[in-house]
């Protein structure tokens, strides 16, 4: 394992493709945190745990398709993104829809801080949340139209916006301390 730590991702993938479990373990240690953080920025922590598992299982099952002459990270990122897309398209999302209080979504962005604060908080959001909030509050689109644009369901678009606003609030509160 010690020797493996000095190897590049691509070399580890080649070993892993050849059936070396320790090489996979090394890749997992190296990148699982990054993937988890990325997923946590897009979905709830609980869903991110499931998606992390899904991502690494997908990597395992499609490892023979990876070509070591290409860098590993974009491939890993693409697999993580695909897991995320599958998650948003999945009918299981209904489970998550329960408990979303759509009435709690404000009609406009909260006036907690100055325009500068808001813009800074907005830029601190993951891309998907930022885009959804912009479409909702700047373009004044309906949830249905946003859902259509983002290839997801209206309930999901509400959820994405709801999470984005919560995150903005915490960013603004954090910024004021």
């Amino acid at each position: 394992m010690n020797g493996l730590k000095d190897r590049s991702d691509e070399e580890l993938m080649t070993l892993y493709q050849g059936g070396d479990y320790a090489a996979f373990e090394c890749l997992y240690e190296r990148h699982s945190g990054r993937v988890f953080q990325y997923l946590k920025g897009k979905v709830s922590a609980e869903a991110a745990k499931d998606l992390l598992q899904e991502t690494f299982l997908k990597i395992h099952r499609s490892r023979s398709q990876y070509q070591p002459q290409y860098p590993f990270l974009p491939w890993l990122f693409t697999v993580a993104r695909n897991s995320l897309n599958d998650f948003f398209k999945s009918p299981d999302q209904k489970v998550i829809k329960i408990g979303i209080d759509t009435d709690s979504l404000p009609a406009a962005l909260p006036h907690i801080g100055s325009e500068h604060d808001l813009s800074a908080a907005l830029s601190g959001l993951p891309h998907v949340q930022r885009r959804a909030i912009e479409l909702r509050y700047l373009n004044e689109w309906s949830f249905e139209k946003i859902a259509d644009e983002m290839s997801t369901t209206p309930e999901n678009s509400r959820q994405i916006i709801s999470r984005g606003i919560k995150k903005m609030r915490s960013l603004l509160r954090g910024g004021k301390k």
Binding site: T14, Y21, Y28, S32, F36, H60, F77, S151
Partner: protein
């Protein structure tokens, strides 16, 4: 979610530059345990899968090459007639090669790479088990097998199984 190339790049930059969040230990344990289990299937499980494939493929192969005179399909054609041109011993040897080699060849469809790797790791034992089971089944169905002829068939079966497995696993596409 449909995104443009620019958005993908932005997202990817965020992904690469992130320091990473601590993954809960129970989640990591679960993932690593699962991958470990998938990469190391039980040799017994592999053998039972192999046996299942052999039961079907082996039986069907009797239609094109009868073994010790057994052909439940009563087809008029048998490769053993061609093999007999090289002598009785060669015929027995080649029949063994074909009988097990065909199963291993078709196993590539039914076993995944990890299972095939386990098969390759224990190839002598796995193929020997398969060949002995086959011989016992032939005797059970009424074949009269002389020891020397049976041993020649067994040798052919072993070589057919081992060579087919090694040939498959050493292909560059198998990695």
């Amino acid at each position: 979610m449909k995104i443009t190339e620019k958005e993908w790049l932005e997202d990817f930059k965020d992904f690469v530059s992130s320091e990473g969040a601590a993954v809960p230990q129970d989640v990591s344990r679960k993932i690593l345990r699962r991958i470990h289990a998938e990469m190391n299937p039980s040799p017994w499980m592999v053998f039972f899968k192999l046996f299942g494939v052999h039961l079907v493929v082996g039986t069907l192969s009797l239609a094109i090459c009868n073994q010790f005179g057994l052909n439940p399909f009563h087809t008029g054609f048998s490769l053993s007639e061609y093999f007999m041109k090289f002598g009785h011993s060669a015929c027995m040897f080649l029949c063994g090669v074909l009988f097990i080699g065909l199963t291993i060849s078709l196993c590539q469809i039914f076993l995944n790479r990890d299972e095939f790797r386990i098969l390759a790791r224990n190839v002598f034992l796995q193929v020997f088990g398969l060949a002995v089971f086959s011989l016992v089944a032939f005797i059970g169905f009424g074949a009269e097998i002389v020891l020397s002829i049976g041993l020649l068939w067994l040798m052919g079966a072993m070589i057919g199984g081992v060579v087919t497995t090694k040939a498959f696993i050493s292909r560059p596409s198998f990695s």
